[in-house]
Symmetry: C2
Subunit: 143 residues, 2 copies
DNA sequence: TTGTATTAGTTGATAAAGTCAACTAATGAT
DNA sequence: ATCATTAGTTGACTTTATCAACTAATACAA
């Protein structure tokens, strides 16, 4: 039975470890023209479209000015289209264009590929266990 | 039994979740004058001192030019002292000064406090389980 | 030993990323 | 109607990060 200090140390060690792993997994973005933030915004748009900037901000911690500019750039480069909400003219809903969807699929596949490479080292049973541990962590921390 | 695609999706969902959690836990640094990178460098120096820039780079992914500047600034502000290695004059070993140690302790306590707050929502048994899941993940992924 | 490659670290120049406040326009609430 | 709030934009700026060129020291092999 570990004492509290020991538990805290272990969690921080895991956090350092996992920060590094997340960094490795996100490395493939360096070969693309997109940052992690942009990739994540694209992911949110894909998941929630048509979606407002505010909705995106409720899923990602990001400055609204920064987000506004990213979306502006996305529109300029033809990745998304904007449409003012018919219910509330303050709100602009964004959706992926065909080009945006193609890009999303490309980035998404690359992300999946990273994970797949990680999983290749594990047996099927170990893979199930890994996911089990992850879900257990989320469950423990989400109450 | 989940198929591979399902497993990949679950892992990516965990990664998004944990990225957000790490962001929250690192938020306390916004109230300090130090960035996450700086805090981590300070941590490495504390752990490994006397330590070279190269050694730090083997623990953190960071540009050597950037690291060089951070260390230069640390020295300038009296947080670390530098000493050329007696065995190899290319190598500069850095150590925390008393001021640096004080700062480290402060940042360290704040980090621990963040974790402690997270743990407060859990019973002692759940805390042990949480650490168990984390170690299991590390074990699975580190082979 | 001498030349060649490698390693450690620094610096200049630049780009990318993120922050903050002021602002407009639309809507909500009393 | 007025006042407050919400959504989003923009300008100005700082911080963070990247990359290549460079010096100096050491390793290594002929």
């Amino acid at each position: 039975m570990k004492d509290k200090q020991h538990i805290i140390d272990d969690i921080r060690a895991f956090n350092r470890y996992y920060t590094g792993l997340l960094g490795l997994l996100n490395n493939h973005l360096l070969d693309s023209d997109y940052s992690l933030a942009e990739a994540r915004i694209l992911y949110e748009i894909h998941s929630l479209q048509p979606v407002s900037a505010s909705q995106i901000m409720s899923n990602i911690v990001i400055d609204k000015g920064y987000l506004s500019r990213v979306l502006k750039q996305f529109e300029k480069s033809g990745l998304i289209s904007k449409q003012v909400s018919s219910e509330d003219a303050r709100i602009t809903l964004v959706s992926l264009t065909a080009t945006g969807l193609t890009l999303f699929n490309k980035l998404n596949s690359a992300s999946e590929e990273q994970i797949a490479t990680l999983l290749n080292k594990l047996s099927s049973k170990e893979q199930q266990q890994l996911v089990g541990h992850m879900q257990a962590i989320r469950t423990l921390l989400s109450d």
